[in-house]
Structures are given as structure tokens and as C-alpha cells.
Symmetry: C2
């Protein structure tokens, strides 16, 4: 953060770009449509600053207004698509993820750590109704998810400490880990066994297991999980039947990524 503060006070920093991206990200399932005041409140910007950004986004076709309520337009998809089409490393994983889903009948995702969240970068779902909440681009708190545990367990010590300093624990269910010591002991176990499992710590009725995806140097670059309804899939099935298949998929994906020789993942 020190670096960023230095950069902010340099002549190179464009504050209005940061604010504009903040405003776009302020929209969500809970806040699909907001007034200028609501956007100002949600982002911490002044009302005039929020208004100018919304007007600019509207004129650029990224937002639209109806009776004083702003919402995003589909053009915003172009921004995420710019990444998807230019960094297609995770498209390599798709056939292996699809194979896993065909074998198990359960959904499977890949995520990376972004700030204190896991950020979904690929997902293959079995559901007939696509779950928007867990689509590519969605974020979940790392401490409450199996992929988060795998990614945190493989962080360098200073980065893990920085994570623990910045994270705010929230109790989503009775089982959510909200104490640092408890999280650290779970991460220790995840590191030893090289996989993580979470049982209804984020949402009642949802359990998942996750394994690391490594680059050529053995560094963990992402995590891959299998999530299932707790009522349908027992912990034993997850661990004894699905885990070996998930580990095999992750191994194949690692190999395929190494084969691309992409410098971002070496």
C-alpha cells in the first residue's frame, strides 16, 4: 500500500479513472440500479464527483438512466471480455474441467487470489440454470472457501501476514471461521495434505473441496474446486471419490499451462 500511496502523489496517477472503475464495480445484484446519491454513498465519492462519472459512463454507453436511476449496460461486458479474449490461459483448462464435470455430475471452478477474495476465472457448471452468483468474475471471501484455503495456504509468509492484517471476518454460517488462529491451523493442514475442504462455511447446504494448480516451478498459480449440495453429496464421497479426480484434472491443467510457455505463469 506504501507503493500505491507514493504513486498516488505522483503526477502519473489518474484519480478519475480509479473512481470510474469504482463506480462500475459498485453495481451488483443487491444494487442493480442506483441514484447519484446512492452511488456516492456506496463509493465514498462526493455527490458531484459521482454525478460526473455516471454522466460520462452514460454518454459512453456503459450506463443508462431511467427516472434518475442509473444501471450498467451490456457494453460493460466488453471490459471483462478484453481480459478473457487476451489472456485465454484458462480456456486451456476448459476441456479438463468439462471432463471432471462429466465424471462427477458436479460443478467445477478455477479461481485466483485477488485482494482478500477469490476471483473466479473459469467455471463449468452442470446446472440447467446458470448460477450468475458464481459465474466468471465473481468474488468470494478467501477465508470461507476451499479455493481460498488452498491459495492462502500457499502464500509466502509476508503475503499471508498482509492478508491477515487486511481481512475482515464475517460470520456467514455457524461454521464460518472468524478467528485468525483457527484459520492458520486450517491452512497448516491444507498445506500438509495439499488440498482444502470447506463444509457449509460460506453458505448452508454447500460444501466443496479444492486443489492447487501449479506452474512449471511448482508455484501455486490458481485453485480448482468441486462444489456440491451437502444434501446430495457426502463429505466421504467428496474426499474419496471426487478428490482423486480433481487432483488428476489439476495435474493435467498444470501440464497444459506449462506447455503454453506463457510468461505470466512461469
Amino acid at each position: 500500500m506504501k507503493d500505491f500511496d507514493n504513486f498516488k502523489s505522483s503526477g502519473d496517477y489518474i484519480q478519475s479513472l480509479e473512481r470510474g472503475l469504482q463506480v462500475i464495480q459498485a453495481f451488483s445484484q443487491q444494487n442493480p440500479s442506483m441514484t447519484v446519491s446512492e452511488v456516492a454513498k456506496k463509493t465514498g465519492l462526493s455527490r458531484p464527483a459521482a454525478r460526473r462519472i455516471l454522466l460520462t459512463l452514460e454518454h459512453l454507453g456503459f450506463a443508462e438512466a431511467q427516472s434518475g436511476h442509473y444501471s450498467l449496460t451490456a457494453r460493460t461486458l466488453s471490459l471483462g471480455y478484453a481480459y478473457l479474449s487476451s489472456n485465454n490461459i484458462w480456456s486451456i483448462a476448459h476441456p479438463f474441467m468439462r471432463e471432471f464435470v462429466d465424471q462427477t455430475g458436479e460443478s467445477c471452478s478455477i479461481s485466483i487470489l485477488d485482494g482478500t477474495d477469490v476471483l473466479y476465472v473459469a467455471r463449468v457448471s452442470t446446472k440447467r440454470i446458470m448460477s450468475i452468483n458464481l459465474d466468471v468474475g465473481s468474488r468470494l471471501p478467501a477465508y470461507a472457501t476451499s479455493m481460498g484455503h488452498v491459495l492462502l495456504a500457499n502464500l509466502q509468509k509476508d503475503k499471508l501476514e498482509a492478508y491477515l492484517e487486511s481481512v475482515n471476518f464475517e460470520k456467514f454460517t455457524d461454521k464460518t471461521i472468524t478467528a485468525k488462529e483457527q484459520l492458520l491451523s486450517v491452512l497448516e493442514e491444507v498445506r500438509k495434505q495439499d488440498w482444502g475442504g470447506v463444509d457449509q462455511q460460506f453458505e448452508e447446504g454447500l460444501r466443496s473441496i479444492a486443489v492447487p494448480i501449479r506452474n512449471a516451478n511448482g508455484q501455486v498459480i490458481a485453485a480448482m474446486n468441486c462444489s456440491a449440495h451437502a444434501g446430495r453429496i457426502s463429505k466421504t464421497v467428496l474426499r474419496e471419490e471426487f478428490l482423486p479426480l480433481l487432483q488428476e484434472s489439476a495435474r493435467k491443467i498444470s501440464q497444459a499451462i506449462v506447455a503454453t510457455n506463457n510468461p505470466s505463469y512461469s
Copy 2:
């Protein structure tokens, strides 16, 4: 464009936000990683302006640099996801699209008109390897696609004229329509029969049919298509077997959208 020019000269316009979003969209499959100069050239910005934007994006975690080459990070997905999670109108279409794909064994997409392009807002694919090129957020020129024909055929007269004034025709294949008169006569037919079909006008070996999706007032709000390999699916099969199924799906999706009472689609 007059309106936008007026807005640009007002005190409310934030030029650096427009430029920042331009830079993000400059990255693509053809240009996954660019130097400051390359970004400047691609966007028409000055080198110092491009540099400041890239540095800001880097410090905000949306871009990363390796040996002077910038690329986007997965955090960019959050921007597209903000729209996907807040405007989940198209998630309503997914079960119907899935049903169509199960019936026909071919991929199916929904798009809207954005500028002179069709912009994909939903897609259900049969392919084992996800086709990144036609994922949600991708754009294709309207005049060369069946969804584009359906959307253009249902534009108000002044909007169609504005489209014809701003479009630049490119000859993708021998069959691409590149003359206004020819396009207008095709659109006339599409309007009459209420569906559009394109045979290898955008890409050799690819043919597709498309139908409109309407709101409660009968206005066309999107188009839905079925695209298939020309070598596998004949024009007759597309028209006689798949078209009625596609029309039925679009009708169900229209009904489901009307039922949501979403003011953006009324």
C-alpha cells in the same frame, strides 16, 4: 453524436475515464500484451497519456507489466461481472437456451445491438472447448451475422439510417454483404419472414439462423441465434428443423422476460 459533442465540451465530461476504458478495450486476442507505444498507437492517445493510464491501471491491479509489456489481469473480469450480476435478465433465458441446445446439439446465443456491432449477452455452447471468440461480451459486425440482420431489420428508420451512415463494410468471405442496397433488401426479407439466416458471410464454414426476442409491447429487444458448422448442418435442416424450435424458445424467453416486469425491457 451531436449530443455527445455537446456533453464533451461541458464541465461534466471526464476525458480520462473515457481514455482508460479505451485502453482496457484495446487489449484483445490479437493484442494480449502491448508496450506503451503500442497502446498509444492502437487507441490514438499520446504516448504520455497512454503511459499514465497504464501505470494507473497497473497500480489499481487491472493491468500488469513484464519487461515493458502490459497485459490485463483477471481483476478486469469484475467490471463485466458488475453488469452480469446486476442485470441478470439474460440468466432468465439460460434454461430455454439449454433446452434448445439439448434438442439440436448446436450452440445458441443471444445478442443486442451495440453501436454497429452485435454484442453477445448470453451463450450456451455444446462444444467441449469453450470458444472464447464467441463468449459473452464478444462483438461481431451486425451486417455479417444473422442476429445482426434481425436487429437491424427491426430498427426504427432513423436509427437504421444512422447505422448505414456509420458502418464500414469489410469483406470477410466471398459471401459477405458489402453494399447498402443489398443489405437493405435482405433486411426487408428478414422483416417480412421474422427471422434471418446467414450462410458463411462472416466466416467460411459457419452458418446461422436468428429470431427476435420481444418485450411486452412487441418491440425487439434482442436476437437469439443457432450457429452451426456448414459441413455438418444443411440450410434445410436449419430452416425446417431448427427454426421452429428456435422460434419456440424465443417465445418462451419473451414471456419469461415480460413476467419479470423489468422496466429496462418494457
